[in-house]
């Protein structure tokens, strides 16, 4: 890491100015310090590793192996890699699932199940993203802290941009006004599927 910086320090910069010597103290360069900190906190559990019991820590963690028991990373991000097989209760700041999880997941920020991910268990997080093709079976708890739902978001009518990013179809551009000929069939409507309302309202359920 520092070798690269030292080499660069010896090279003259464009414009003929001599390069400023790089000091090895990361405190002088906030970006470098942040980068170093990120590198130092990325930890992997490899494919061949099997852990049975309780796993806790204060670093971001990527698991490609197998964990049975309980995982606690309350201030950090947990990533279950494509080869990861987890049978555990999970508590973390954010959880990204690309492999398989059997057990409940609780996150203080976000749970993200990618398209190859699989979760059998209950999710609890303020934000949850589930990609098309992902497997999920269980419940999803997105209760807000305080305040009623209507008060928090009174008038939104389209699917969220976040949802659009996760699925290819929820594009706001595809939506049409609610009052645009509600009784008219749209082209390409599947036979036997609800296509358009005829506007007949039968409060008693009679045709």
């Amino acid at each position: 890491m520092w070798k690269r910086d030292d080499a660069a320090a010896g090279q003259p910069q464009q414009g003929g100015q001599p390069a400023r010597p790089q000091t090895p103290n990361p405190g002088n360069d906030p970006q470098a310090a942040r980068s170093d900190r990120q590198e130092s906190t990325k930890v992997n559990i490899g494919k061949s590793v099997i852990i049975k019991g309780e796993l806790s820590g204060s670093e971001d963690l990527t698991i490609e192996g197998q964990v049975d028991g309980k995982i606690e990373l309350r201030q950090n991000v947990l990533t279950i890699g494509p080869n990861g097989r987890i049978k555990a209760e999970i508590y973390a700041k954010a959880v990204v699932v690309q492999g398989e999880v059997v057990g409940n997941i609780t996150a203080t920020e976000k749970v993200d199940i990618r398209d190859a991910g699989s979760v059998d268990g209950d999710l609890a997080a303020p934000r949850i993203a589930i990609a098309d093709g992902a497997h999920f079976r269980g419940s999803i708890d997105m209760k807000r802290e305080g305040g009623t739902a209507a008060a928090a978001k009174p008038a939104a009518s389209t699917a969220s941009p976040q949802a659009g990013a996760q699925t290819t179809t929820a594009k706001p551009a595809d939506t049409k006004p609610a009052d645009s000929k509600p009784g008219e069939n749209k082209p390409g409507t599947p036979a036997g599927s609800p296509a358009a309302s005829s506007g007949q309202n039968n409060p008693q359920g009679q045709r």
Partner: protein
């Protein structure tokens, strides 16, 4: 070929090739009852919803942002497909009577989509009875009921575009003949729920909202 890789779902992969080839295109369908379903739930604090369809990320995000709710994803279409593939449709009534884990009067909203079109009468009665029991007073149930006989060769994912529009995305199913339920039968099997709104669509489908008073 790329479609198979992207979907990665066992149920879809196992469906007949002919059924996949005959899939109709996606379409956007306006909905009249769904806004009323949402309105019913928005009056409640942290409502509990049961979704009988396959999990759809956009819908989860929509409900999370609009209602701040708890959602139980119970993909009953996958159960129907499994029974059909294994030629065990006769076992469905018993299966659906005990399939759902929710307690009585513990749920504010149920999204049935068009599931009842794929059930025989006995299974439909068993499931509707279970649904009626688990809905709380003031709760709502949203569903579609076909009004014409047809051979059903695909299920549909209903992706919420907005509160007044759903994107209907077909995916293959083991073919089954729809058993048309009369309105009086529907009302009876969902008792004590009452029909709050019912719309007849041009596709000969009834869009219905039930409420528990």
């Amino acid at each position: 070929m790329a479609w198979f890789k992207r979907s990665g779902r066992q149920d879809e992969a196992a469906a007949p090739v002919a059924a996949r080839a005959a899939l109709p295109p996606e379409a956007v369908a306006p909905t009249r009852a769904f806004p009323k379903f949402l309105n019913a739930l928005s009056q409640r604090d942290a409502p509990v919803i049961v979704d009988f369809g396959p999990v759809i990320g956009a819908n989860v995000s929509f409900f999370g942002e609009r209602l701040g709710c708890k959602i139980f994803v119970e993909d009953l279409f996958a159960d129907v497909e499994r029974h059909a593939r294994e030629h065990k449709r006769d076992a469905m009534p018993e299966f659906f009577a005990t399939r759902l884990r929710q307690d009585e009067q513990s749920v504010d909203g149920v999204l049935c989509w068009d599931l009842f079109d794929f059930l025989d009468r006995a299974s439909a009665v068993a499931l509707a009875g279970r649904v009626a029991k688990m809905v709380r007073p003031g709760g709502a149930v949203f569903g579609y009921f076909g009004a014409a006989a047809a051979e059903l060769t695909h299920y549909s994912k209903f992706v919420i575009q907005s509160e007044s529009e759903l994107r209907v995305r077909p995916y293959p199913a083991t073919p089954v003949k729809r058993q048309v339920l009369q309105n009086r039968d529907i009302i009876k099997m969902f008792d004590p729920l009452t029909v709050a709104e019912s719309f007849l669509l041009k596709s000969n489908t009834r869009e219905t909202l039930f409420r528990r008073l």
